[in-house]
Amino acid sequence: MIFEGLVEWVSVVARGFSYTLHNGAFTRYAMIGFVAILAAGYHAWATGTVGEATRELQTAGPVPIAGWAMLVVATCGLVMLHRNRFLALILIGIVGLMVSVGFVFLSAPDLAMTQFTVEVVTIILLLLALNFLPNTTPVESTPLRRIRDAGVAVVGGLAAFALAYHYMLRDAVTSPISEFHLAISYKGGGGTNVVNVILVDFRGFDTYGEIIVLGIAALLIYALTETLLRGPVRARLLNRIPDQAQAGDVHPMMMVVLTRVIMPLVLLVGFYIFLRGHNEPGGGFISGLVVSIAVVMQYMASGFSWASARLRYPYHGVIGAGVLIAGLTGIGSWFVTRPFLTSDFTYVRIPPFEEFELATAALFDLGVFLAVVGAVMLSLESFSRLARRAGSEDSKFAMDINPERDDPSAEAATTGTGGAP
């Protein structure tokens, strides 16, 4: 009796406890998470000691202050105006742009190039999503709730500021491993761009895992799209009426011609960035993103069906090939009785040219490149496949108006499907 009574009582208490915390509201989980992190941070702060500042504050000229001001205005504007979702997207674009400019200024050219190109694909992705989502966020939360959220946000922001400001003014407790990386980069990895050498030589295993994660994320998006398109959502998408006026000229001739002309140019830039990666800012990640943007431009300008008709290799295969190439490069080092992913390099001179470097890391970087291209393209393609089901028929031709095509019936067909001008 006592035992059963005890069990009964414990389960009632436990139920009361977990149902209050776990009520299906994401905002509540997020709030619990933030408050718990802040409490833990405060505890660490209150019980720890802070050493003397060992670094001088660096003076900031007018240019960094201007960039900072733009970031501050865009972030504040984002919070104020987040209900207008298109505007919010433009503002978050400004924030991302200022972050990448900041990376350039603070001696991180690789990061700036990555941030900048990721920014482009992220905005395209969010635009594709906004195509379906409502364009405004209604006012729902009570003023009290907003004040409570703002309170937590301000405390969190101040904590992050204080933490960042404190450690930037102090040197590391022990000398960081980075000095070792800087010293051994050229001797051990054969490259002068230390960031890239860390990625493909010193921490290759890490990078290998990361491209696999990226590939899994893209495949997950593909799987979700497939499931959506098989279920009841398909009918809903087919019957969907666009909530905004559609452009009359879906595939403008200027844009089509321009994107096709610059396509080889962009590919050349991507190739150049890929090859110089080991010694100058660049590498597999960045060139993968640059090439993805080149391909996305073709989708945007010439239309989904035109671009996919010219697609030679499915993107899943590209991801797989990337991971395989990187993995096989790693396995290659087993044959010379070295651990997985040991890199090697040599210098070759073919007479009329300068001496150049051949590294296994370049092969590994090729795997990274392919995985990034495949992952970015597979995610964006999945999103546009949703859009494709959602109504507007694809036009038969890449360009709505093409002077080369003087067949009037074909002309009528395209303008008909493209919508009234």
Binding site: T27, V99, G102, T114, F132, P134, A153, S185, A217
Partner: protein
């Protein structure tokens, strides 16, 4: 310079937390993106701020920025794109399936919100 970077991190964290606590999927996604920027800059700043000394080896230079945080943040930026895409897809799927983009479970009584 340190003050500018630290205050930018703080502001992005504050704005990110506020937006994550909103009730609809889209602001939550924007909030997560802002938090991503803040975390990336924070990790990058753990290499301390150095102006005009990129970690690309030159014969006549001895002072370089810390390359390790940069390498870690570089992959973090790319992965965060993949994760953002997954979150956006989940949010979009939920909205297309139920015509409702709340992040909280809606009880039956308050279900129809009159979405356009």
């Amino acid at each position: 310079m340190e003050f500018l970077v630290a205050s930018a991190i703080g502001l992005m964290v504050a704005a990110g937390i506020y937006l994550v606590l909103r009730l609809r999927t889209f602001p939550v996604i924007l909030g997560i993106s802002l938090l991503t920027y803040a975390v990336n800059v924070f990790l990058f700043a753990s290499g301390r701020l150095v102006i005009g000394a990129p970690p690309v080896l030159r014969d006549d230079v001895t002072q370089y920025a810390d390359p390790l945080p940069q390498a870690l943040v570089l992959t973090a930026i790319v992965i965060s794109f993949g994760m953002t895409a997954v979150v956006v897809m989940i949010g979009l799927g939920a909205f297309l399936g139920t015509d409702d983009d709340h992040v909280d479970d809606q009880s039956e009584a308050t279900e129809p919100q009159g979405q356009a």
